[in-house]
Subunit: 161 residues, 4 copies
Amino acid sequence: MKKTFIIGVMGGGIAQPVDERNAYHLGSLIALEGWVLLNGGRNSGIMEASAKGAFENGGLTVGILPDDHDNRKSSYVSIPIITGMGSARNCINVLSSYVVVACPGGAGTLSEIALALKYGKKVILLDFNPGTGFDNYRKTGQLVFVKTPEEVIDTIKLLLF
Amino acid sequence: MKKTFIIGVMGGGIAQPVDERNAYHLGSLIALEGWVLLNGGRNSGIMEASAKGAFENGGLTVGILPDDHDNRKSSYVSIPIITGMGSARNCINVLSSYVVVACPGGAGTLSEIALALKYGKKVILLDFNPGTGFDNYRKTGQLVFVKTPEEVIDTIKLLLF
Amino acid sequence: MKKTFIIGVMGGGIAQPVDERNAYHLGSLIALEGWVLLNGGRNSGIMEASAKGAFENGGLTVGILPDDHDNRKSSYVSIPIITGMGSARNCINVLSSYVVVACPGGAGTLSEIALALKYGKKVILLDFNPGTGFDNYRKTGQLVFVKTPEEVIDTIKLLLF
Amino acid sequence: MKKTFIIGVMGGGIAQPVDERNAYHLGSLIALEGWVLLNGGRNSGIMEASAKGAFENGGLTVGILPDDHDNRKSSYVSIPIITGMGSARNCINVLSSYVVVACPGGAGTLSEIALALKYGKKVILLDFNPGTGFDNYRKTGQLVFVKTPEEVIDTIKLLLF
């Protein structure tokens, strides 16, 4: 059986247009590689944009929702997972992802970067600087910084093969 | 966009051969309907059998694992969700399912039936009697009892259409 | 240091007066033994009654709330734990309890009995019959049935000493 | 009834001696104020030190354990809450705390700061700099920086009264 590669894409529920464009483009590239995109599932910001990019390019999209309902689900999420656990679902996001990509965001995104590092996952920052508090993880290489969606894909391939 | 229907299939991690055959057959019928099968994700009992039935018939299978790793994942699960939350993941199983089907099992399965009812989900019992403690829910019709995988599918169709 | 004994008291958020009186009396006896009472934390049914019984008799009361706020907290809970996880908090209720006592309730209470059994905890049923589905656990002695709060205390003492 | 004030104290499971001394001293001051100390419950680092400080000064200590057992529980925790949810328990830590104090730590502590901010809690940093990624929250005053345990107490009192 072919192994599924699940790539987590995190980032703000509210986001700048440039970051949403990057997230859309990243989603499309993930789909074109045949990987599964996983995110926080909601219909706004980086979640909506990355799911749309993957979905419109034939990709499978998994959304791990914080709510106990799907009223705020992105319509580009093909597999909604309804947790009813609020931000505790952030742990599921990172544990379920082979690699975590972090786009710009606020406290929620910072928590996902931190939880991913805590759980030993590689984290790729896409044009996002979470600040000096994470410098130690950049030194070890667990956390890497790139500027473009294409570089995210290249970095994931380095890890995969 | 076509709506995904996620059908949860619960049941024991240890199961009788007859129940595993039923679970396999149910998984295959779910796949043939084009629905997604969701279960607890492990490589044993009803989980393994139902995932295998769906997977071998072209279906998409989602496994919500209790562990913080995938060492015990069924190889027939195409989308593993790693929760690291033990039996608290049972809530996610039922919340994420449009309908919950319960095959024979022990305390874990009883907890999933109870949680599904608590969250207002319909529960279909496949040749399994969880006992008189659930009689009130059978009276209201939230809990229904059937004997065969085919009847499970018929019952779901009644609810869907 | 003296070990704390935490006794979980489960039961319906809506309850009959006779069951609330039993829960109040049980709470008071737990407090008089110097044990800590743990329950689901809300201001209704068995939760309110058991917390009140313990609190008014000098006991410490811990409430594990399903909500992400304390608006529905019982005022007799001295230590509110706010989980924001809905019924996934039922796992915490039973894992944190040395013994679980189940008073009459609905699907939520049935889920707590099942989860407690799954996690290997002893469960004492106080004038509550969860039905024939749990008979196997009564045969092994993991689940015991008693009629009065005093018998609950006697049973816990048997286990403790 | 007197309201319980629960103060969360976060920080590394591995910590420098100077930070453990600060955590111990902070725990003792929290106890002397009559507040409840809540932390992650384990027998190491800031958790052990802060619980010890509170416990040895007559305070009540609540430990929210990530494990599904209490083998690694600090013996200075009077109320252990066993979640079995790994780092998802970090959400419970911050939701249950009136104010969150963060002592020096790694990714786990950074996740708790971020989750606390996400949930709208005030966060007091005790001689810990989580980096420039949190600057926006310092500007709004949701995140404050102090140098000594005494200043933590003064800051909490400002918020309480």
